[in-house]
Amino acid sequence: MGPGIITSNVDNDAGGITTYSVAGAALGYKCLWIFLPMIVALVVIQEMCTRMGAVTGKGLADLVRERFGVKITFYAMVGLLLGNLGNIMSEFAGVAASMELFGVSKYISLPLAALFTWWLVLRWSYRVVERVFLAACLIYFCYIFSGYLARPQWGEVARGLVVPSFSFDSSYLVILVGLIGTTIAPWMQFYIQSAVVEKGITVKDYAYTKYDVIVGSIMVNLVAVFIVISCAATLHVQGIKVDSAQEAALALAPLAGTWASTLFAIGLLNASLFSASILPLSTAYFLCEAFGIEAGIDKSWDEAPAFYWLYTILIVVGAGVILIPKISLIAVMFWSQVINGVMLPFVLIFMLILINNKDLMGDHVNGRTFNLISWITVAVMIILTLLMVVTSLFPV
């Protein structure tokens, strides 16, 4: 398995599942059309990152620092830090929500989960952990069966996939931004590029990585489409809006019957823990890299104090916020993805400037099609975000 497939599976995290569920329940088949252009954009953007990693041998944070200097890097990293903190919070919200389905209070599950992820990564070889989690990600394929068993109106599904629909309703726009934000999350671009660099993939053995990215992007979107279909066929038709994990779990009822909430809880718990063990560590790593501070778990606490503190604080804050009584877990998971969507164009602009730099990329600069698709994505995200803000301030 290559970086593309792994990154895509990490992408199906608590925020992703929730956002797709919310979208399916609220909008039904109508929002399916967004997925086809999204696959194209995701492939293009991830391919750009892997290409940059392969050609330069450097991570995205490194390249931003070397090309744009300290100040811009600082703002970019603060953005990444806040965005990722949102994501980490959503992972812990996922842990809390899934454990509540098992009847475990979040005041017990969260401290344990925080300690578990913190300890796990520092003490264990990550390779083993990663395989376990990846295998468990197969649970999401349950949505494909569930979506099928829910007997959706396939004609509606097909129409939903190809016929675009649009609305200037602010709640519609928020869901759209969230959908794009969770699928093409900014942190993924940093992550996939590091993965390419760490694995020593270079221009020579790069062709294979292209297919890896395409397969990964299609996989993540296929699962997402079926989550939307399942939710549309079970929740949307009954007019249920997803406000709790209990309701989101109903989408699996056609497959699992009364076991639906158990199945959903296991899947969500796995996804949340998986991403919760990756995100804080990679965030701490990217930040330290960009500022030239010692980082890495092969260093001791004394050698890399900033790295370890950052890592610890991210987990403590991420889990701590979710401990606030009466916080809406679904809302945290959903809104963190909207923030991702708002941040996406900025990361893309950095990437586009870097990848079109001849000094850096030589003959591997972007072609015209890739630039066009990326700039359209940037423009669309900026317009959607602006529309979202305007329509929520001045409802139509």
Binding site: K71, R127, E130, K199, I278, G292, G296
Partner: protein
């Protein structure tokens, strides 16, 4: 300070007067005024020129996109408020960037360098410059880079928060640059300073770099040092470096390595590649490596090296010492001398200590021990470790079924297997599936 200036090769040291010291970020983008206080532009960058190993500022780039700069001789005063020129600004006095000059800010700021004192790869946060007056002329010289938190804060305009922190400077002579200056500026032996580092430190450093710089540095190093450092690296990194190297150079590197390690490495490469590399190696060395590659992993045969000291039994102590002198550099260890008869059968062992205390005319066969602790080529690593430990040996001979000696295994070969590096188990890279499982 004087110590550092001496390295700049500036004569008349006693009469050197320091006019000012600056950080590049303090003067970067500051306005440039002529004698009549007209603003001419901003200090965008500094052009530097190398004299020997050390750079001097030759001119100031004063506007974006302009490739010619104001000669440094025209500068009257440098303060944190701006740069004042001696006379009026005239375009005719501008000098274009010479092929052996480079823009310092663009080349060095935010880039990675090697801090030779700390032997670490670090990022440049700022550059420290001194402005000095000698009897003949004035010089503006970069003297150190700032790699500390305070430098980072200064760039962000919040240095006051870190006033209590020391500047973390690396003086120019302890910097190893990684970025090429320009094609015409690549000085030969530019990376020679790296030779002074311990091979294990050098290995760590190289592992921290991206794949292009790794290969560059290895290719620039003295072959022997490169091989030593290379032998210290993680297997994944070694394979990656070999993969990107020119095949001829890769084969040279492998020749310099102990044959047992070269065999391990070649065993991990695709068959085609390892065959190609073996073909390029000296036939004799290649043969040794080929034989080692045939042994199964985890056996004594796969661990051993054929580079040991073998002597005939009839030699006198004096002759043996003379011979040892010649053989020592090639052997993995010289603490044990193995006495072989004409069939290469192992008949005895003499330790270096025993050799040195024996009377010069004694024959080796009279002082050698004949109760030999040895292992068979097919024995496994545990057995080797057990014997080394039980008899407190530094190395153990390996023989075949006919008692003929094939090689030795040193205690560090076994240690490497029993105690893997912590870093190889738990680096960030293990976040991602390892490269080998991917292929």
């Amino acid at each position: 300070m004087k110590h550092n200036l001496r390295h700049k090769g500036i004569r008349g040291l006693d009469k050197v007067q320091i006019l000012g010291e600056y950080f590049f970020s303090n003067i970067h983008k500051k306005p440039i005024y002529d004698i009549e206080w007209h603003t001419i532009g901003q200090l965008r960058d500094l052009a530097v020129h190398w004299e020997g190993d050390f750079p001097k500022v030759t001119g100031i780039k004063y506007a974006k996109g302009v490739q010619s700069h104001i000669p440094i001789e025209q500068v009257n005063k440098i303060t944190h408020r701006g740069i004042e020129l001696k006379g009026k600004f005239s375009e005719s006095e501008l000098i274009p960037l010479q092929p052996d000059e480079i823009y310092m800010g663009k080349w060095l700021m935010d880039k990675q360098i090697i801090d030779l004192k700390g032997s670490k790869v670090v990022r440049v946060n700022d550059i420290k410059l001194f402005w000095v007056q000698t009897p003949e002329r004035r010089y503006l010289v970069p003297t150190a880079v700032d790699i500390g938190l305070r430098g980072l804060a200064r760039r962000l305009g919040v240095e006051f928060l870190f006033k209590k922190r020391e500047h973390h400077l690396v003086w120019w002579q302890f910097i190893q640059h990684l970025e090429e200056k320009t094609a015409s500026l690549k000085l030969t032996g530019d990376r020679s300073q790296l030779d002074q580092l311990h091979p294990a430190d050098l290995a760590d450093l190289i592992e921290d770099l991206d794949y292009k710089k790794r290969t560059d540095i290895i290719e620039d190093l003295d072959l022997e040092i490169a091989a030593e450092a290379f032998a210290e690296m993680e297997l994944d990194t070694q394979l990656e470096i070999l993969d990107h190297m020119d095949s001829r150079q890769a084969s040279n590197l492998l020749e310099e390595m102990p044959p047992d390690e070269a065999a391990d490495l070649l065993g991990e490469l695709p068959e085609e590649k390892s065959a190609e590399l073996l073909k390029l190696m000296e036939p004799e060395e290649a043969q040794e490596v080929r034989e080692l590659m045939d042994y199964e992993e985890g056996t004594a045969g796969a661990l051993m090296t054929p580079e040991y000291i073998a002597l005939p039994p009839g030699l006198t102590v004096n002759e043996a010492i003379a011979k040892l002198r010649r053989l020592a550099s090639e052997a993995e260890t010289i603490y044990y001398l193995y006495i072989l008869d004409e069939n290469r059968t192992l008949s005895g062992v003499v330790s270096l200590r025993e050799l040195l205390v024996a009377t010069p005319v004694t024959k080796l066969q009279d002082i050698m021990r004949t109760r030999i602790i040895q292992v068979n080529v097919q024995d496994d690593v545990e057995r080797v470790a057990e014997l080394l430990n039980k008899y407190s040996l530094l190395a153990i001979p390996v023989v075949n079924a006919q008692e003929q000696m094939l090689g030795i295994i040193t205690v560090d070969d076994v240690l490497e297997i029993l105690i893997p590096d912590r870093s190889s188990l738990e680096t960030f890279s293990n976040f991602f599936v390892s490269k080998r499982t991917m292929k």
